[in-house]
Assembly symmetry: C2
Homo-oligomer: 133 residues x 2
C-alpha cells in the first residue's frame, strides 16, 4: 500500500483497513476496475454457477466476443480470482473456475445483480421519466 492510504486510514468507514479504493494508486482500485469491467463482472457471475469451458462462457455471456472473453479471463486470472485448467487433451478442454476469493466477490456481484433484476420495473420507469424531461 501507499503511505497516502496509510495516512488516510483513520478517516473513512473502512477505517481499520489500510487500502483505499478511492486512491487511484491503490491495488484495490485496480482490482475493483478489473472486476467491474463490462465483461469481467458477467464472467464472474457465470462462474458463480460453477466451472465453465471457454465456449460455454461465450454462450452464457450474451454479446461477448472471443477476444473480449479471453481478455477478461486473463485479467481475472491475473488478479487471482479464477483458475485456468488445461486438460491438454485432444480436442482441447480448458476449464475456468473461481478461487475462494473470486467466489466471495462473485457472490456480492450476484446480490447486486439480483437487486437490479428485481428493480427492473423501477429502473424502466426512472429512465422513461428522465428521458421524457
Amino acid at each position: 500500500m501507499t503511505t497516502d492510504a496509510v495516512d488516510r486510514a483513520e478517516l473513512g468507514p473502512s477505517a481499520a483497513l489500510v487500502a483505499d479504493v478511492f486512491a487511484s494508486a491503490c491495488s484495490s482500485r485496480a482490482a475493483f476496475e478489473t472486476i467491474t469491467g463490462k465483461w469481467a463482472s458477467l464472467v464472474l457471475l457465470a462462474l458463480a454457477e460453477g466451472p465453465h469451458r471457454f465456449g460455454e462462457l461465450r454462450r452464457r455471456v450474451e454479446g461477448v466476443s472471443e477476444k473480449m472473453l479471453s481478455q477478461a479471463l486473463h485479467g481475472l486470472e491475473r488478479e487471482g480470482l479464477l483458475t485456468r485448467t488445461d486438460h491438454g487433451s485432444v480436442p482441447p478442454r480448458v476449464d475456468y473456475a473461481l478461487t475462494p476469493l473470486g467466489d466471495d466477490i462473485a457472490r456480492r456481484l450476484r446480490e447486486l445483480a439480483d437487486l437490479l433484476q428485481a428493480a427492473v420495473p423501477t429502473l424502466d420507469e426512472s429512465r422513461a421519466a428522465y428521458d421524457a424531461r
Copy 2:
C-alpha cells in the same frame, strides 16, 4: 423483459425473477453496466457516506474529471439511483444524494470494495506471480 429471459426463468439461482443480467437486451444489464462503470461505481461509494456536492465528489473520487463526473452523475440520476437537488442559490449549490435503491446498491458495492481492500496482499501476490511467468 424478453421472452428468452422468461423461458430461462426456471434455470438459474435467480429462478423466481423474470429479468436476466446475462441478456444483453434486459434493462437490468444496462443498469448493471451503468453501475459497474469505472466512475459511477466510485461515485456511488462516495455517496454511500452521505450527500455530496459536485466539487466534493470531484475531490473524493481521485482522478475523475469534471466531464466524467458529470456524465456519471447524469447516468445514475437517469437510472433513479440518486437525486440531484439544485438549491438555486448564488453561488450555486447542488447536492447529490442516493435514493433508497441507490443506497441498497451502494452498500453492496461497499462490501465488494471492503473485500478487495482486505485482499490487497493476496491480490498483489497473484499479480506478481502471474506477471513473472
